[in-house]
């Protein structure tokens, strides 16, 4: 379970080497007067690429689960056909005892050879079974599911993990994690 104390002592992390470079600018990010133009997604646009550059995640173990990968029960070492849409689903709670669901969940795939990371949005699902198991049938929806297009991803071993957001805080979950082969 994540507590704010855990979060405070957790290791601050950045996502990409690009961001690491941006950390140097962090000091002037919050009071800067000149923003920068950046782009993301598939379309390119003119202008320098940059981001807010602030430290954005803490590492911590999460009360969460990766249940389904590729429409099958999640198991380490699963071999996934890149040509198919890959679906990853599960559940996560910020505080299961208090019946607090996460605000948001993101699925991450890290190529274990190159450390390249892909992050995907998810859709919420109720997961009433988990709510009942946790003893909070009326809590917010805590299921998540993401369908990813991986046809252009490099084949190899990947680590599937999740990020969760709660009350403005972004947490990179050190567990659950799962290795798969694309």
């Amino acid at each position: 379970m994540i507590t704010s104390a855990t979060c405070r002592v957790a290791v601050l992390a950045v996502f990409t080497s690009c961001l690491v470079g941006c950390i140097a600018k962090d000091a002037d990010t919050h009071d800067r007067r000149d923003g920068t133009v950046g782009s993301s997604g598939s379309d390119q646009m003119t202008g320098a690429t940059a981001a807010m550059g602030r430290v954005i995640a803490v590492d911590a173990a999460c009360a969460a689960s990766i249940d389904v990968v590729d429409s099958r029960p999640a198991q380490p070492g699963m071999i996934i056909d890149r040509k198919n849409p890959l679906t990853v689903g599960g559940w996560g709670a910020h505080d299961p005892e208090a019946g607090l669901a996460n605000d948001s969940t993101f699925v991450s795939l890290v190529n274990l050879q190159t450390n390249e990371e892909r992050i995907y949005a998810t859709r919420k699902s109720p997961r009433t079974d988990v709510k009942i198991y946790l003893g909070h049938p009326d809590m917010g929806d805590l299921g998540y599911e993401s369908t990813m297009l991986l046809s252009e991803a490099t084949p190899g071993r990947y680590r599937v993990g999740i990020y969760v957001g709660w009350a403005g805080e972004l947490i990179r979950c050190t567990s659950p994690q799962l290795e798969i082969v694309l």
Partner: protein, 786 residues
């Protein structure tokens, strides 16, 4: 010679009949506590109650196992149908009281009290209370015809003729499965009355039914021309139900029922076919048909429905007490009571205290609701409005504005609660599309000009059916003529009509035809398209007989997928119409991929087999298989709905930054007032100007340290705009806070790709970020016109 009853007996008899009358009223009074809901059953209740005020023709526009008198059966509050339901339910209660009066002429005390006790006992099964009607009618008619006619020209028979005809007419228009027992009872006793020259009954009952049916039909707001269609449509709904909807339950319950039914029938079978015995045969026909219908109603779909099969034999056994020809007369009721307790004990507590509490609660709540009825309309309407608001809150369907729409496969409550104009396919819940005739009706509707432009679709197969078996002929039309435009919560898709007329019809090309045996694996021909299959399975004579009397053994469809085998329930009549076998459309992603024209290999079955899991002797061992190719349209845009957006790491924080204290506005977009949307070419810059602050409260207020402006396209692509702060003294002067820090911002981007963008604004203050929530225009960027 019969002795005249004493005054005390007469008073007691009146009191007993009053109790029975009150019980009859409680048995059918719709009550005020049931409000609309969202489950499968609650959705057809909502749909049928919506169909009447909307002017949909039952039997043509909507086809279901219930007819236009469904509101009397559903007992759920709807402002538009409640008066209708209350009125006709009270008429039906009156029919029961009249029939009971004729039955109890020789038992004026015990019969009404028994009726009251049994009514309270069976009150938790609505089917049983309605199915008791033919039994009461037969008993009343038999008792009456056993005595000489009363009054001049047999006028004493008239109230009974009216009650039987009125009740029969109500039930005929209420539920398809009530039709056989009502028709058999009416036919049998009309014949007996004619043989006995009791013209008031022989002529009165059938003539009254013929006269009342159109009157009742019109009273439900239906057009007279659609009445024949209702009875025509009832046939496939009844005949197809057995194979499609059956479910296996405890065999001991069936054994208990059969024992009770056998004893009742054995003690009623006349000794000969002589004319004098015909009333006995007529009575046996009424009882036999009703008890058989209760058997099918209870055990074909063997779950809580079994209560019907528990209660109806009990009613039959009690009513038949004066007419048993052999054996101890109290044996059938005693056995029936034990059987009813045994069967119903599997679904509810039958401990004496619990039973007593349930019956008392039923009576008390019914009386309470009746007493509170005067002036309750406003309160009920408010409760109804609250319930509809709750449905809206939980609805995966977005708010509608009166535009026509339909929903697959069964959540009509959401669609109606959200203000869409419900334009249903005839068989409006997909699991009920279980015969070729019904399947074709729904397909033809989709191909017609009446089909709605908007459809909400969710994969919701029941009973572990193969997903594409639900509305199996409509699915190819949906794949070709509609395109998904929105992915909604709870697995729903919003589909919009893409093509009309002949273009909408699916183009199936036969690939191969073969004969296979049950249990034999059949290879699915490899194809880049979807594969449609028709299986022509035929019952044996034994299977056909079992279909009529009970149900044939179930069939399973074992499908071999690249990841392994899966087993599904196979509905033979749906398989005869045909269904999409490949891909397996059991999950939304595969359905979206199929809409996109890119079927994933993992969703393609390699082979299948049909297995007679429940009764190999009920089905002929060989069957014909026809494979056809169903070409798929290529729609790359659908992939935007299929795949979740890939997010750049630097964008994550925006997605988790919550709304916080912030006051902000957008004044200008590209120098023009920011109202509505705006359009410009791709090479043009976008600029956004406005002002904002953390707080404008007491004192000088709190200015933000910085603002961040983002454009987020609907596919998830995000653009950060270069943002600078400015003083905006005009605003500060207007606010009277000239000492505040800079509150203006100016954001710009050199080139923005085409798309629809949400504008997001974030403020930084003292090291914290917050998203500014306020009404913002959407930005539409179009390709530059050359």
């Amino acid at each position: 010679m019969q002795t005249k009853p004493s005054r005390a007996t007469r008073i007691l008899s009146v009191l007993c009949h009053a109790v029975a009358a009150l019980t009859a009223v409680l048995l059918f009074f719709p009550g005020t506590s049931r409000m609309p809901g969202a489950s499968l059953d609650e959705s057809w209740v909502v749909a049928l109650n919506q169909a009447l005020p909307q002017g949909l023709a039952v039997g043509r526009d909507v086809i279901f196992t219930l007819g236009p008198f469904a509101p009397v059966f559903t007992k759920t509050y709807f402002p538009a149908t409640w008066a209708f339901a209350v009125g006709w339910s009270m008429v039906l209660a009156a029919c029961y009281v009249v029939m009971l009066t004729y039955i109890s002429r020789t038992r004026p005390l015990i019969a009404p009290l028994l009726f009251a006790a049994v009514a309270a006992f069976i009150s938790d099964d609505w089917n049983a209370s309605f199915m008791a009607f033919p039994l009461l009618a037969a008993s009343a008619l038999r008792a009456t015809l056993a005595m000489p006619p009363a009054g001049k020209h047999g006028i004493g028979d008239l109230p009974l003729a009216i009650a039987v005809a009125l009740g029969t007419s109500i039930l005929l228009l209420m539920k398809g499965s009530f039709i056989p027992a009502c028709v058999v009872t009416l036919g049998a006793w009309t014949t007996i009355a004619a043989l006995q020259r009791r013209h008031m009954l022989a002529v009165g009952m059938p003539l009254l039914v013929l006269a009342l049916l159109p009157i009742l039909w019109l009273s439900s707001g239906q057009s007279l021309s659609s009445l024949p269609g209702y009875f025509r449509s009832a046939l496939p709904m009844i005949s197809g139900y057995t194979e499609a909807m059956s479910a296996v339950g405890r065999r001991s319950e069936i054994a208990a029922y059969l024992l009770v039914a056998a004893v009742i029938v054995a003690m009623l079978v006349p000794r000969s076919f002589r004319l004098a015995e015909w009333p006995r045969w007529a009575y046996l026909a009424s009882v036999g048909c009703t008890v058989l219908m209760a058997f099918k109603a209870g055990f074909v779909r063997h779950d809580g429905h079994a209560m019907t099969a528990a209660y109806v034999p009990l009613i039959a056994a009690l009513l038949a007490v004066p007419w048993y020809l052999r054996g101890p007369r109290l044996l059938p009721p005693a056995l029936a009571l034990i059987g009813a307790l045994y069967i119903s004990g599997h679904y509810a507590s039958v401990k004496p205290l619990d039973l007593g509490a349930r019956m008392t609660r039923w009576a008390a709540s019914g009386i309470g609701e009746l007493a509170a009825l005067p002036g309750s309309q406003a309160r009920l309407n408010a409760q109804f409005a609250d319930k509809m608001a709750t449905l809206r809150d939980h609805s995966p369907v977005p708010r509608g504005d009166g535009q026509p729409a339909d929903i697959y496969s069964y959540n009509q409550s959401y669609l109606i609660a959200q203000g869409w104009k419900w334009r249903p396919r005839p068989i409006f819940q997909s699991y009920s599309v279980y015969t070729p005739a019904l399947n074709e009706k729904n397909r033809d509707f989709l191909l017609s000009d009446s089909a709605p432009r908007t459809i909400f679709y969710a994969i919701q197969p029941i009973d572990n059916r193969y997903a594409a078996q639900e509305d199996s002929l409509s699915l190819p039309v949906l794949l070709g003529a509609y395109r998904p435009v929105r992915r909604l919560p709870a697995g729903f898709l919003q589909l919009e009509r893409e093509v009309d007329g002949a273009q909408a019809a699916p183009q199936l090309h036969e690939i191969s035809r073969t004969t296979a045996a049950l249990g034999q694996s059949v290879a699915v021909p490899p194809s880049e398209e979807a594969t449609f299959v028709q299986l022509h399975l035929r019952k044996t004579a034994l299977g056909a007989l079992k279909s009529i009397l009970f149900k044939p053994g179930e069939l399973s469809l074992e499908v071999t997928m690249p990841s392994g085998a899966k087993t599904f329930r196979l509905v033979p009549k749906i398989a005869e119409s045909g269904f999409i076998l490949s891909p397996d459309l059991g999950d939304l992603n595969t359905l979206l991929a199929t809409f996109a024209g890119e079927v994933p290999a993992r969703a393609r079955p390699t082979s299948f087999k049909v297995v007679a899991s429940g009764g190999g002797r009920d089905w002929k061992s060989e069957y014909e298989v026809t494979f056809s190719a169903l070409p798929l349209k290529t729609r790359p845009a659908v992939n935007e709905l299929l795949y979740d957006a890939q997010i750049q790491p630097e964008d994550l924080w925006h997605l988790v930054t919550p709304a916080g204290q912030c006051i902000a506005t957008i004044d200008l977009i590209n120098g023009a007032p920011a109202s509505g949307t705006m359009i410009h070419g791709t090479s043009g810059a976008v600029s956004i100007d406005g002002w904002g602050a953390v707080d404008l409260g007491a004192g000088e207020g709190i200015a933000a340290d910085a603002f961040e402006v983002l454009l987020r396209r609907t596919d998830g692509m995000t653009l950060h705009l270069a943002t600078t702060m400015s003083a905006r003294n005009d605003v500060k002067a207007h606010l009277g806070k000239m000492e505040m820090g800079d509150i203006g911002y100016h954001a710009k981007a050199d080139a923005v790709p085409p798309g629809i963008y949400d504008i997001e604004l974030y403020r930084a203050y003292a090291g914290n970020y917050a998203r500014c929530e306020f009404a913002r225009p959407r930005l539409t960027v179009e390709e530059r016109k050359r």
